[in-house]
Symmetry: C2
Subunit: 147 residues, 2 copies
Amino acid sequence: MTMEIEKSNQTKVRDIFSEYLAEKRHRKTPERFAILSEIYDIEGHFDIESLYKNMKNKNYRVSRATLYNTIELLLDCKLIRRHQFGQNISFFEKSFEFKQHDHIILDQGEVIEFCDPRIQHIRKTLEDIFDLEINDHSLYFYGKRKS
Amino acid sequence: MTMEIEKSNQTKVRDIFSEYLAEKRHRKTPERFAILSEIYDIEGHFDIESLYKNMKNKNYRVSRATLYNTIELLLDCKLIRRHQFGQNISFFEKSFEFKQHDHIILDQGEVIEFCDPRIQHIRKTLEDIFDLEINDHSLYFYGKRKS
DNA sequence: ATGGATGCAAACTGTTTGCACTACT
DNA sequence: AGTAGTGCAAACAGTTTGCATCCAT
């Protein structure tokens, strides 16, 4: 029988969020940690309405307002990322310890993740040419399977 | 005094649209051509609400419904492209005879356009690796001017 | 105890839809 | 003549806001 040495991801992101909230002088409410925890239990992408229904089903007492608020905080401390797959609905995914990656959107909503270093080269070039500080990007390819 | 040989862009896109409508058995209504014409008078990006107000100010009798409908047709025949700069509002720009380009979004809504061939290399690689047919992409960098 | 955070519902905003009327084919 | 397309207004969906209450500090 060995002691659990490694912290779980859940614990790590909790710590990061806690530290972030402290630094920003925001209150550490149970709702905020419950939401973070729920999100980190989700595999893949999610939208706010599903998260809301998901939590309601588990008998959490949360409001959409708090979800939207908390999502902003989590974006700010980089624990999640926002995506615009469709037209008018935001999708999110957790981003802690997951390698930066981009997406290919296929028909029927299938999503492939990939990572190509050349995007960072483009970024560097743009920063040099236009004298910019680029802090983020979003890249989507749209296509379909052959045959 | 020489004859005007070159067709204006306005005339060319009109022809393209006309041909598209014929092929798809859609009617050639004056509204559709008026909207196309208005769009091709716009420099840079626009959203539907501004286009609507713009046309209303010029005493066109158009409805939002028709604008949304026509925009779909113009997207379909590739005379315009859709962008998602912000969260929940679609921006568009004309795309006839304008080189494919991507965007850098700076603070205060400033937008820089650029074109980097490496994005096509990435595309090719993805098509090969995943056996896909990629027909489009969207790429945005987000940043700010240095100093 | 104080005021930041919450839940709830109403308001907002961009987009879509239903319907009676118009006009392209 | 027939019906796709139109304008208008109402409906819709995702998000934001106002407010009374709650609870982390």
